[in-house]
């Protein structure tokens, strides 16, 4: 029996994708490893200070300010980004991989939330994540869009991100 770590469904041995939620079952034992936050900090990629100005691209409609590590990720080139964490053997990749920013330790799901720009507003939707998505401390209902304002603090699990909106 293989228990899906995403939805706890019991799958038959030899199954490769969860029959209930469609998550890939192989390589799931990776999620039970314990890795200390310190290792993550030391393995953080060195980022050139000049390369991440808040609104570098002229077309950026907003930015994600990662409060724990200080990086700012501009949102540009498209109107919608999925946020999550890339793990080995995963067929489905988030648009923005937060794993360099302690996403794992912060309890970010592989596909955690989606942020998009629509009709002049910025919307956030939780994608049924394990540890939830919060706006200014208030938990979102899964699969329901919620508007964001400049300066809002979003938490994906414990990973805190400040939303910077270009006016």
């Amino acid at each position: 029996m293989i228990v899906c770590t995403n939805c706890k469904h019991d799958n038959m041995d030899g199954a490769m994708f969860c029959a209930e939620c469609g998550a890939q079952l192989l390589g799931q034992d990776l999620t039970t490893q314990n890795i200390s936050t310190e290792e993550f900090r030391s393995s953080l990629p060195r980022v050139d200070q000049d390369s991440y100005q808040p609104f570098d691209g002229r077309d950026a409609w907003g930015s994600l300010h990662l409060l724990d590590t200080g990086q700012v990720l501009p949102l540009s080139a498209r109107n919608e980004f999925t946020l999550g964490r890339v793990s080995e053997g995963q067929p489905i990749m988030p648009d923005i991989d937060l794993s360099p920013y302690q996403a794992y330790a912060g309890g970010v799901s592989r596909l955690h939330a989606v942020i998009k720009q629509s009709g002049g507003r910025i919307l956030l939707m939780d994608l049924g994540s394990a540890n939830g998505t919060y706006i200014n401390g208030k938990r979102l209902q899964a699969n329901v869009e919620q508007a964001l304002n400049h300066g809002d603090i979003v938490a994906l699990g414990k990973l805190k991100i400040q939303i910077l909106v270009k006016n």
Binding site: D13, G14, M16, E20, D95, I96, G128
Partner: protein, 493 residues
């Protein structure tokens, strides 16, 4: 078959090294399918007599030896077709519970598309002309049929049947056609009456049978926009009879009112598939595409005949390409066509019972593939498919083959849609909605935003109204099926 009459082995669909037991089995199976007491379809009695004659010779060891001596050397199996079968894991694990193993069969033409002559066609277009087809739908159908007539090659046989509650042959099957007259007959088609698919299918089958020839691609294209009532079972029997004569069926459904489950069942019995046409303006394009696909057929159908294994069950089977579609879990299985450009990819899910694991290897599949290549005068000898998997105490650490993994990752989306529908049919609405929400999450992450939105809307419909919307379930079904064929979208980063 012309001058090259198939030999006794080919008639029974067995290899020359077949044991007496194999010969007997092949004979009984063929006899069961074709016994004159059971079947009255045209041509089947003759096939049955051939089979009986073949069996009489081969079942007698002395006569078999004499017959074998007269045979020319066996045509090499690897002549025109190449195939490969891979398993999701190298060994089964000794467990006290059932376990899954996946197999992927790839089978295609050995030669490039330019080396094989394009086979002539024998196609009947069976058109629904019930009242509901009135207006844009019928106009588009007429335009499409006219275009098809103009695109025919001199060697192609083409016929058109229109049906409502009765059928009418608009263009009888023939090669020597008068184009102008035929176009006029198409233009005169009027809509009236109800949809009775059996009427149309029966007349269409008769037209195709008139020019039935194994060297042609024999096919019925059924286009409908409505439900048929009460004659479903008769239609399915007709499809089985078509399959035995190597006639394929494609079902094209226009709009929201037709029954996709039924049309899928009908087409898949012959190795064909169904196509969803959401808007009438797409009728012409899809019909022409289908025609072109038929014209580039390498083999009409690949048939898998297998021995039922005691402790191994085939749980699911799906054709990934050239056209994605369900495969009926029957024996024999119609896996579908091989295109000249695109090989057939077929995925199969086995459930292995713990009782099978007492031995150190398990036979997952023991059978033969029969392939009818239209462009070749001689039948292709069957390909033996015997898949044996070792049993080990521990699971292998080897990662699964990427081809199976990527095929399954896409098929998973289609199956989630299927599960949602099954759950909704059983009245488990919250489970159906959850499946759709999960599906939406996966679709979103693959950049299929509008489809994800449709899935979420349908989840909402099911939770609130306990039903799919009119178009939603078909949209999701055929779009997730189409995803199987497309290359994965580039990751945007």
């Amino acid at each position: 078959m012309g001058l090259n009459k198939p030999d006794h082995y080919q008639i029974l669909g067995i290899l020359r090294d077949a044991s007496q037991e194999d010969i007997k089995r092949a004979y009984f199976e063929a006899a069961q399918r074709l016994h004159p007491d059971k079947n009255v379809a045209a041509g089947e009695t003759e096939i049955f007599l051939d089979i009986q004659q073949a069996y009489e010779v081969l079942s007698n060891p002395r006569r078999k030896t004499m017959y074998d001596a007269t045979l020319p050397p066996e045509i090499e199996t690897h002549g025109v077709v190449k195939h490969e079968f891979i398993l999701s894991r190298p060994n089964l694990v000794k467990l006290a519970e059932p376990q899954l193993v996946y197999g992927l069969l790839e089978i295609g033409s050995r030669e490039g598309p330019d080396k094989i002559p394009a086979p002539p066609l024998n196609i009947c277009l069976v058109l629904d002309r019930s009242t509901s087809m009135q207006g844009e739908k019928m106009d588009m159908v007429k335009a499409a049929a006219t275009q098809l007539i103009r695109s025919l090659r001199p060697q192609d046989v083409f016929s058109v049947v229109a049906f409502s509650d009765k059928a009418e042959v608009i263009i009888p099957a023939a090669i020597n056609w008068e184009m102008k007259k035929q176009e006029a007959r198409i233009q005169f088609m009027q809509t009236s009456g109800a949809t009775e698919i059996f009427q149309g299918l029966d007349a269409g089958l008769q037209e195709v049978c008139r020019s039935l020839n194994p060297s042609r691609v024999n096919h019925i294209i059924l286009l409908t926009d409505g439900h048929t009532y009460g004659d479903e079972q008769a239609c399915l029997q007709l499809a089985d009879s078509a399959a035995r004569q190597n006639i394929g069926i494609t079902g094209l459904g226009v709009g929201n009112e037709w029954n996709d489950i039924f049309l899928d069942a009908l087409a898949s019995r012959t190795g064909g598939s169904s196509v969803y046409i959401s808007k009438p303006k797409d009728i012409q394009r899809i019909l022409v595409d289908k025609f072109n696909a038929l014209a580039s057929t390498f083999a009409d159908d690949v048939i898998l005949e297998y021995k039922v294994q005691k402790h191994v069950r085939i749980n699911y089977a799906f054709r990934l390409q050239p056209e994605g579609g369900t495969v009926q879990l029957e024996n024999p299985m119609h896996l579908g066509p091989i295109s000249r450009e695109v090989p057939l990819h077929f995925l199969i899910e086995f459930v292995v019972d713990p009782s099978a694991l007492e031995q150190d290897h398990v036979t997952l599949l023991d059978g033969a593939l029969k392939i009818s290549v239209a462009a070749l005068p001689t039948p292709v000898p069957p390909i033996r498919l015997r898949i044996v998997c070792d049993v080990d105490a521990k699971p292998s650490s080897e990662p699964p083959p990427t081809r199976i993994l990527s095929a399954l990752s896409k098929l998973t989306l289609y199956r989630m849609q299927e599960r949602a529908r099954t759950a909704a049919d059983e009245g488990q609405y919250s489970s159906a909605a959850r499946h759709l929400q999960n599906l939406a999450t996966h679709l979103l992450s693959q950049g299929q935003n509008s489809l994800a939105k449709t899935a979420l809307m349908e989840a909402d419909n099911i939770e609130r109204m306990h039903a799919f919307s009119a178009s939603g379930n078909k949209d999701i079904k055929y779009s997730t099926r189409a995803l199987l064929l497309s290359a994965p979208k580039e990751k945007a980063r």
